[in-house]
């Protein structure tokens, strides 16, 4: 077939294909619905996924590289490292392994951060705005390899303690029992 002008046809084909692609979107603010889950959360006992949980915003944080990297920064700024170290766990439980005490879904993690948990997990409800909590939730899930590799964060510009989230193997979440209660 002799095309009069092959360059033009190639360009047209390319742009047609482009129209169908999904564009990565960066949100600097999150217009959450009026009833933010913040006030509807009840301080109650352990509820690993039992009663209805705060709803997931339409913007899926853990598919967005910018949100996960913000989550990593906040993980450091809000001193989650103080108890959870670099994800390996210190006084707080490890976040990188496949064991989840209070449920591994984003809503469970959100509830854990907002409500706090026994044995020292403080309640950050009201202290961290919802959008940042969702970002931290997305990052914590990426620590355990639940997030797509191309969205994952890479190494940080400080001491190299473990493999970067990107090169960690993704794990199959398993529920595990809560840590022993102190007498």
């Amino acid at each position: 077939m002799s095309l009069r002008c092959p360059e033009v046809t190639l360009a047209v084909l390319l742009f047609a294909a482009l129209a169908g692609c999904h564009r990565e979107e960066r949100r600097f603010s999150e217009s959450l619905p009026a009833s933010t889950p913040l006030d509807s959360v009840v301080q109650s006992d352990i509820r690993p996924g039992g009663t209805p949980l705060p709803h997931q915003p339409d913007f899926i944080y853990e598919t967005n590289a910018y949100a996960v990297s913000q989550g990593k920064q906040l993980y450091e700024w809000f001193n989650c490292k103080g108890c959870h170290a670099d994800g390996g766990g210190a006084i707080g439980p490890a976040l990188m392994d496949d064991q989840w005490i209070y449920g591994d879904s984003p809503q469970n993690l959100y509830a854990t951060i907002v409500e706090g948990r026994p044995n020292g997990m403080p309640s950050f409800g009201g202290k961290i705005p919802p959008q940042q909590i969702w970002q931290i939730v997305a990052y914590v899930r990426s620590l355990a390899g639940q997030v797509r590799k191309d969205v994952d964060t890479s190494r940080a510009d400080h001491l190299f303690t473990r493999k970067s989230e990107q090169s960690m193997a993704s794990t199959e979440p398993r529920a595990s029992s809560p840590p022993p209660q102190p007498q």
Partner: protein, 315 residues
């Protein structure tokens, strides 16, 4: 004032003088070269005579002669410009005598300022607005916590980069008291454009008065609304990033707000420091600085009013 041409410090003044020297010399060179070019393009009369080989040879020899002189002149000019720059550079890089040392740490989109002092109780932390006494050299010790920034006060001195993992120094000397603005000069991310800073060049007495006032812990709230504002400050998201001396908020992620009201601008020189700007900034910082690290804090109106009053009281 924010310009490299009309200056308010001896260092910027020296550089401005050097700039005028360079510009003058270059302008003269430019006019000569362009003049000769236009003459070369438009000379008509000799055109016919150059047809024969002999005349071409003479013309070539003359041209070769002119070019050697022109090149020699170029080399001479470059040497003079080079030497003039060398002397200015030497004076700029001579270390100052017992300067006031100020540690400046660059963050993504704001400046952390700490006045160095051997006695820890005299050390002073502030942000985005730098006060210096006039006439006295101030040595800035520059480093960065995240990416590369560049500290630039055009009217006072040249710029110097703040590089993570390295420590740079820059010297500031202001002659005339006044307000001089500066800007981050190395692209540092989404809000590089609004990472500005303000320099207050005060007379030595004003500076000392300002320093003493800054050393006091945060003022105790006088009225009920201010007291309520403080509880809002220490119970919602402010406490996770900011610190106010004298309260139990002591996070160093964000700027120190102990004397926020004494600063003329907020958000690294983006907004003038008025109560409603403060309220709008707390509610939705991304509307003024999209991509800034401070989150939106959806506070109910009365809490927000109390918080703003409390912050406005922190002189």
């Amino acid at each position: 004032m924010h310009s490299a041409i009309n200056t308010a410090g001896p260092r910027a003044h020296e550089i401005a003088e050097l700039m005028t020297l360079f510009t003058a010399v270059c302008a003269v060179v430019y006019l000569i070269v362009i003049g000769v070019l236009i003459w070369a393009l438009l000379r008509k009369r000799a055109r016919a005579r150059l047809a024969s080989e002999a005349e071409r040879e003479i013309a070539d020899r003359k041209a070769r002669h002119v070019i050697t002189w022109a090149t020699a002149l170029t080399v001479l000019i470059l040497i003079t410009l080079g030497l003039s720059d060398f002397f200015v550079q030497r004076s700029l890089f001579t270390p100052p005598k017992d300067p006031l040392r100020v540690l400046i740490t660059g963050h993504q989109y704001w400046w952390e300022i700490e006045y160095d002092h051997p006695d820890p109780s005299q050390r002073l932390r502030t942000a985005n607005e730098l006060h210096i006494p006039t006439g006295k050299p101030v040595e800035l010790v520059l480093t960065s916590r995240d990416v590369i920034h560049s500290f630039w006060l055009p009217s006072i001195s040249g710029k110097k980069d703040l590089i993570p993992g390295r420590v740079n120094t820059e010297v500031l000397i202001a002659d005339k008291p006044g307000l001089y603005t500066g800007q981050c000069a190395e692209f540092c991310g989404l809000q590089h454009a609004k990472m500005r800073l303000v320099l207050h060049a005060d007379s030595p007495e004003d500076f000392e008065k300002w320093r003493q006032q800054q050393l006091q812990p945060g003022r105790e709230p006088a009225t009920d609304t201010e007291r309520r504002g403080r509880t809002v400050f220490t119970s919602t998201s402010c406490v996770l990033c900011h610190s106010v001396q004298g309260t139990d908020a002591s996070a160093t992620v964000g700027p120190d707000l102990t004397h926020i009201a004494s600063r003329g601008t907020i958000a690294a020189g983006t907004l003038p420091n008025t109560p409603d700007n403060l309220a709008a900034w707390i509610l939705a910082p991304h509307r003024m600085k999209p991509g800034v690290q401070m989150p939106a804090t959806p506070l109910p109106p009365d809490d927000l009013g109390a918080l703003t009053k409390y912050l406005a009281s922190l002189q």
